[in-house]
Structure formats: C-alpha cells, structure tokens
C-alpha cells in the first residue's frame, strides 16, 4: 500500500467513523431531539406530563375563540387524526390564524387542556402571489371538501 493510498483510506475512515458515530448518537437521542410532538403523540400518552414540551399541528377552521376583553385565547391543534385543546394568554404571531400550522410550548393541564406559554406560527414551503393562492383555494374547495388539507 502506497503512503498516498494509506492517507486516502485514513480520510475515508475518518468520514465513515465520524459519520456513523453521529448517526448512532442522533438515533439514540431521537426522543430528546424531538422538537415538537404531534397531537396523536399527545393523545397516545407519548408526551411528558411533568415537564414543558411543544405540540405542533394545524388550527382547524372555527376552533379559535377569545374571551371578551382579555388576551386569553382557546383553540384546537389537530393533525387530522387527533386533537389537543390549547389555551394561551398573550399576543399571537401575525401569521397565526385558522388553517395555519402552529407550535405551542407549555404543559398539559390536569383537565386535558394544554396550557401554552408561547405560540409560534409555522409557515409552509409554498411561496406564491395572493391571486394564485386564491385560485388554488377555489379549485381545492370545489371537488371535495371532505379530504384532509395537505399538512405542512
């Protein structure tokens, strides 16, 4: 084996070794790396009960209510399989609205309502002018209204 070949093997081994180490570490800590839980995870009891965690999902149409004269808001988060009720007091981000994906950070209350300390709006990877969005929406509504919306 020439020295050059040996160095080539060495570089390949470094990349392979560090790569597999990183892959093992990332799979081992999969649960800790989980940025947010889905409503299905929460109803299945996978989410922690004793500490703060995040739930991410869509806010379905017609689920948002705000108490008169206060900042307390109630809404539902869904992944179109299960739902989680959320309450939040504070200012919501500009992109927050029904039909939008959001991520809430907080704790599960004893009554099964998730009490959020922070609500973040997620936006999808689609960028289009408003007119296009309008036409797309019309086309989407016409044929069937029962199918689930594409999740973000």
């Amino acid at each position: 084996m020439t020295p050059r070949r040996r160095r080539m093997v060495m570089v390949a081994l470094i990349v392979l070794g560090v790569g597999s180490a990183a892959a093992f570490a990332l799979t081992a800590f999969q649960d800790n790396l989980l940025y947010f839980y889905s409503p299905s995870d929460v109803t299945a009891g996978k989410a922690p009960t004793d500490r703060v965690f995040r739930v991410g999902g869509m806010v379905p149409e017609g689920s948002f209510t705000r108490a008169q004269g206060s900042l307390e808001a109630h809404f539902i988060l869904t992944d179109y399989a299960h739902e989680v009720k959320v309450s939040y007091t504070g200012v919501l981000p500009d992109l927050f609205r029904e039909g939008q994906g959001v991520i809430a950070r907080g704790r599960m209350g004893a009554d099964g309502v998730f009490v959020a300390e922070e609500v973040l709006a997620k936006h999808d990877e689609n960028y289009m002018p408003p007119e296009v969005a309008k036409t797309l929406k019309k086309q989407h509504e016409k044929p069937t209204n029962s199918g689930p919306l594409p999740t973000t």
Binding site: G19, L34, F36, G56, P93, D94, L120, Y127, P130
Partner: protein
C-alpha cells in the same frame, strides 16, 4: 487533464490564473446582484400569506445554500491536500473558510430577522437552526485552529482533519427539516416534483443564488492569491515577478 491539474497546483500558475479569473467572476456577480435585487424587491409579487416579509429569502436562501457548498469545497480541498499532499489544496481550503463563516453568519442573522415577524421568535433550538449554528462554529474553529500554528504545514494538516470531521454536519443541516419535526419549513427549490415557489418569485432567487456564488468565487480567488503570497514569500518566482 492530469497535466492541467498539475500545472494548476503550482503556486505561480495558480496565482496568475486566480488573478485572471477574478474579474470574470466579480463583475457578473455585481450585475446579477443588481438584477436579482430589482427582481426580488420590486418585480416579484408579494406572498399570499407572508406579504412583503418573504422578500428576505433573496438573501437568506442563497447564503444558506452557499454556506453548505463552501464548507463542502473546503472539506474536499482539505482532503485533497491531505491525500495528495498538494499544498495549494490546503490554501484553497483556508481561502474558503472566512467567506463561508460570513455567509453562515448572514444566514443566521437574516433567518433571525425573518423568524421574529413570521414565527414569533428570534431563535429556537430547532434542528435546522441548531445545526446551522454548529456549522458557524466549525468554520470559526477551523480558522482558530489554523491561526494557532506558526508552522503552515502543521496548520494545514491539523485544520484539514477538523474540516473533514465537520463535513458530517453538512447533510445534517440539509436534511434536518426532513428527518425531524422542525419549526423551519421543508425545502422549496430542490423538490423533485415542481418547486413549490411561483415562477415570478423563483427567478430572482436563482439569479441571486448565481450572483452570490460568483461573488464567493471572486472572494476565494482574492484570498487564495493572498494565501499564496504569504506561503511563497521566500520563493524565487515571487521576487523575480516583483523585481
């Protein structure tokens, strides 16, 4: 091909070539940047849900893509330098690091400015954001490691190992939004089907990407020339060309 490769790896030839190529990268970059800025800021329509705020992607996305590409070039340069003992390859890797670090920093800064109005937060320990931050630390670590050696050859070899080890982070950044739940949305341009961005918004982005890439090329040429001068300061070809 091999002959050309050997010729290019000689410092005087590379020094001259980089000087010749540089204006052909720099001036098109300036022109394309102006075109892309006009296209992105004035001609492109506003987004259906993010309104005008989405326009920051014309800086954010090119710097993000290039922060990864520059790192890959740097790591390949370092690997070539280690395997074939080509000093010029180490010089290329060293020339890539500062601009790569800058692009990563700009990507993080614009992302933060973008995140506040859209998501409602400056920073989240989300997989995409965290791995991009690690990328910045890899660049900074690489530069710090190089600076800590007086001997250029030892600096080359030590920093090359760091660059090669750090390359595992590149796919992690790229696929973080696919592998894990993330606040950051998925990829828009590189989707195999149609890109999920309207054509009128896409072309300025591609123009900007090309402009930034050419600009990186010009900066790397400059830095490479400076790096060659520093390394070859005692060489006879330099004193001859100066005299």
């Amino acid at each position: 091909m091999w002959l050309w490769f050997h010729k290019l790896s000689s410092p005087p030839y590379a020094y001259r070539t980089a000087g010749l190529v540089r204006p052909w990268l720099f001036w098109p970059a300036v022109v394309l940047m102006i075109v892309g800025a006009i296209g992105g800021l004035l001609l492109a329509p506003e987004d259906y849900q993010q309104k005008d705020a989405f326009r920051i992607i014309y800086v954010h996305v090119p710097t993000a893509i290039l922060s990864l590409s520059i790192y890959t070039v740097m790591a390949v340069g370092a690997a070539v330098g280690v395997i074939w003992r080509i000093k010029l390859a180490h010089a290329v890797a060293a020339a890539c690091a500062p601009i790569g670090a800058w692009f990563t920093a700009v990507c993080l800064a614009t992302g933060s400015i973008y995140g506040k109005p859209m998501w409602g937060t400056w920073w989240e320990w989300d997989p995409r954001l965290t791995s991009e931050l690690i990328l910045l630390f890899l660049y900074l670590g690489y530069m710090a490691l190089r600076a800590s050696f007086d001997d250029t050859q030892r600096a080359d070899r030590a920093s090359a190992i760091l660059a090669i080890v750090g390359v595992v982070n590149v796919p992690i950044v790229k696929y973080s939004v696919v592998w894990w739940n993330s606040l950051h949305q998925g990829p828009s341009i590189s989707k195999i089907a149609a890109p999920s961005i309207a054509g009128s918004m896409l072309w300025p982005l591609l123009v900007m990407l090309l402009a930034f890439a050419l600009y990186v090329g010009a900066v790397v040429c400059d830095r490479l020339r400076a790096e060659i001068l520093r390394r070859e300061r005692n060489a006879s070809w330099l004193s001859e060309s100066v005299a």
